[in-house]
């Protein structure tokens, strides 16, 4: 088990270097001169050169990449934004909780929807509920999150006035210098502002998960060991709990880890429509401004999240599946 984790960790390091190197060089291929943008429209050529030198942009890419890695590993710093001189670490740590709230809350919601429906559909294939669920799945997968978000915002938020349409509220105190329009800071306000985003993000994932849980459960129901359990006289409920679901959920755990990591990297559409200052919003903004340090910083963070989640999933998977743990 220990060796397994060490092997996984080494892999994670390799993955990290590869992803950051690619991202870092991508931004330098884009034909835009960050020094010019930083120096401003009225700056003369000498001014631009000075800025270039000050930011280290006159160095070759590999030197810049080395500096970047060094800063990251030694100082744990992602650098400073070109756009507003803000520390990128601060930008990330302000945006991350917003996206985390959105994604983890959404995950709980989509699992609460997908698990019972998926299992029930597997147990009663072709029943009315199963057929309805399958139509719902098709709609959920086909409907674009922006469309769903706009519909929800229009009807639930605007026409019926049940929820806020825009914005995010912290659970605790307002962040220093924030121009928040929150009426108060509490768990309630936090959740209240996230209801529509959660529903939006859940629709697509719930659809995927209903389908996946349904097919996994149906496959597992046909396994020989399930017949063995029935032949032993195990109650149907326990057959389902102890023999079917335990095995059917193994692939779901893997999927969940990957989906969470991807969603954390940017639930861009949902954040955009509901004006949530999350990672996706920040990423889009920084790309528009050619704010390279912020873009790279957000990418690095997303990469770390993906790697960490993959690692967690691998370890969790080994924990629940003895065939991996003991081989």
């Amino acid at each position: 088990m220990i060796r397994y984790i060490i092997r996984r960790l080494l892999w994670a390091v390799v993955l990290f270097v590869a992803v950051t190197a690619v991202t870092y060089s991508l931004f330098f291929i884009v034909p835009a001169d960050p020094a010019k943008i930083m120096a401003g429209k009225s700056a003369g050529p000498e001014e631009v050169e000075r800025v270039r030198k000050a930011l280290g942009l006159d160095q070759p890419i590999y030197v810049q990449y080395k500096d970047f890695l060094q800063r990251l590993v030694v100082d744990h710093s992602l650098g400073t934004s070109y756009a507003n001189r803000q520390d990128v670490n601060d930008i990330v740590s302000a945006a991350a909780p917003v996206t985390a709230s959105l994604v983890f809350g959404g995950m709980i919601l989509w699992l609460l929807i997908a698990f019972p429906i998926g299992v029930y559909s597997a147990l009663r294939p072709r029943s009315k509920i199963d057929r309805t669920a399958m139509v719902g799945v098709l709609i959920g997968i086909s409907a674009h999150p922006v469309w769903i978000a706009l519909l929800l915002a229009y009807f639930v938020g605007y026409r019926w006035g049940l929820t806020p349409i825009q914005g995010y509220c912290e659970v605790f105190s307002p962040p220093p210098g924030s121009s928040s329009t929150c009426p108060g800071f509490s768990l309630w306000q936090w959740a209240y502002h996230l209801i529509l985003p959660w529903i939006t993000i859940s629709v697509l994932y719930a659809a995927f998960y209903v389908r996946m849980i349904r097919s996994n459960t149906m496959d597992t129901l046909n396994e020989d060991y399930v017949r063995t359990a029935r032949a032993k006289g195990v109650r149907e409920f326990n057959v389902l709990r102890s023999h079917v679901l335990r095995n059917a959920m193994l692939p779901v755990v893997t999927m969940l880890g990957m989906d969470l990591a991807l969603a954390l990297g940017g639930a861009i559409f949902t954040e955009f429509v509901f004006g949530l200052p999350g990672l996706g919003q920040e990423a889009v903004q920084s790309i528009r401004r050619f704010d390279y340090p912020t873009t790279v910083g957000l990418t690095v963070f997303a990469t770390i999240v993906v790697i960490v989640f993959n690692l967690l999933v691998d370890i969790l998977y080994a924990y629940i599946d003895p065939r991996i743990r003991l081989s």
């Binding site: 060991y225 017949r227 063995t228 006289g233 109650r235 095995n247």
Partner: protein, 340 residues
């Protein structure tokens, strides 16, 4: 009175393409402590017969009719809960593929204890002691150290031993073994068969052995039922079946069995494939593959009736007894080296 008395069992599956008559009017009985072998090709209805008795067929789209009297109760009329109480306690079943028949995420100790706990409220230690005792009885080496191991840490033969231990842990009156050795290599097959015979003596369980291996039948069976396309085509005590085989399908099975005694006879496979159970042939279901087919075979299906002079030996064939005797003569001289 017989332990299990099955009368006119019919299991029909309703599919999108029509009704599949997987088992179509089968009757047999199993005496206490005896072994009945059910023989036939894949798709002949052997497994479905036993799954019907156990109540393990899928419920949806399945019609089961007839009678299956087990210790005086008709299994086919019992409620799900009553049947569940019998399954695993009074009758149990082991399956063809030991590699997939154990749950991969639970230790074998847990799976054995579960079999106890389902039917008896006993403390965990007591269930564990029973599990250990059974693992020793089926010959798992160093059983004490292996109850916390997972199925994938056992070989196929060892897993089948675990399955047998699990099936016998509640000391059932009847053990149904569905091709228990098919997925194992030959030496392991022999070990499992002799293990089952020994445990049958020790535990006094009756066995229904589903197989397509006549060699295994010869070693273990008291009674034999040969099935073809959902019906019994020949039923007899083991001696009668081997020394007076009366049905062309039985002959075919014997001709396709390797003969260790004499190597000058070739293996003769039965030509063709088993018929579709959706649209079985008219008349005798074996007629398209039968070497002795007559016009009457294509029109009317023969009744299951006793052979002349032996009321316990039933068969389903139109052929004249004289024709049969000539063929029986040939088969027994050519083939019996393999079974005696």
């Amino acid at each position: 009175m017989a332990l299990l008395e099955v009368r006119d069992l019919k299991t029909h599956f309703h599919t999108d393409d029509g009704v599949v008559r997987a088992v179509d009017g089968v009757s047999f009985s199993v005496e206490k402590g005896k072994t009945l072998a059910i023989v036939g090709e894949s798709g002949s209805g052997k497994s479905v017969t036993c799954l019907s008795v156990m109540g393990l067929n899928p419920k949806r789209g399945t019609d089961v009719s007839g009678e299956a009297l087990f210790n005086g109760r008709d299994l086919l009329k019992l409620s799900g809960e009553e049947l569940r109480n019998i399954r695993g306690a009074e009758m149990s079943m082991i399956f063809q593929d030991p590699m997939t028949s154990l749950n991969p995420v639970h230790t074998i100790g847990r799976q054995l204890r579960e079999a106890v706990h389902v039917h008896e409220k006993v403390p965990k230690q007591q269930a564990q002691a029973r599990a250990l005792e059974m693992l020793k009885a089926v010959g798992i080496p160093r059983a004490e150290t292996r109850t916390d191991d997972y199925p994938h840490q056992f070989s196929g033969g060892m897993r089948q031993r675990v399955m047998i231990a699990m099936a016998l842990i509640n000391n059932p009156d009847l053990l149904i073994a569905d091709e228990p050795t098919t997925a194992l290599d030959v030496t392991t097959q022999a070990q499992i068969i002799s293990l089952m015979s020994r445990l049958q003596r020790d535990f006094g369980s009756a066995i229904i052995l589903i197989t397509h291996d006549l060699g295994v039948v010869a070693e273990t069976a008291d009674e034999v039922m040969v099935m073809y396309a959902g019906r019994a085509v020949e039923q007899a005590p083991y001696k009668g079946l081997f020394y007076q085989p009366h049905h062309p399908y039985t002959w075919g099975l014997m001709d396709s069995m390797p003969n260790l005694a004499g190597d000058e006879t070739d293996l003769t496979p039965i030509p063709g494939t088993p018929p579709s159970l959706l649209r079985p042939p008219k008349g005798c279901k074996f007629n398209p593959r039968c070497r002795f087919v007559m016009d009457v075979c294509r029109e009317t299906e023969p009744e299951l009736k006793p052979v002349p002079g032996d009321a316990n030996h039933l068969e389903r064939c139109h052929l004249e007894e004289a024709v049969k005797q000539a063929e029986i003569e040939r088969i027994t001289t050519e083939r019996l080296g393999a079974v005696s």
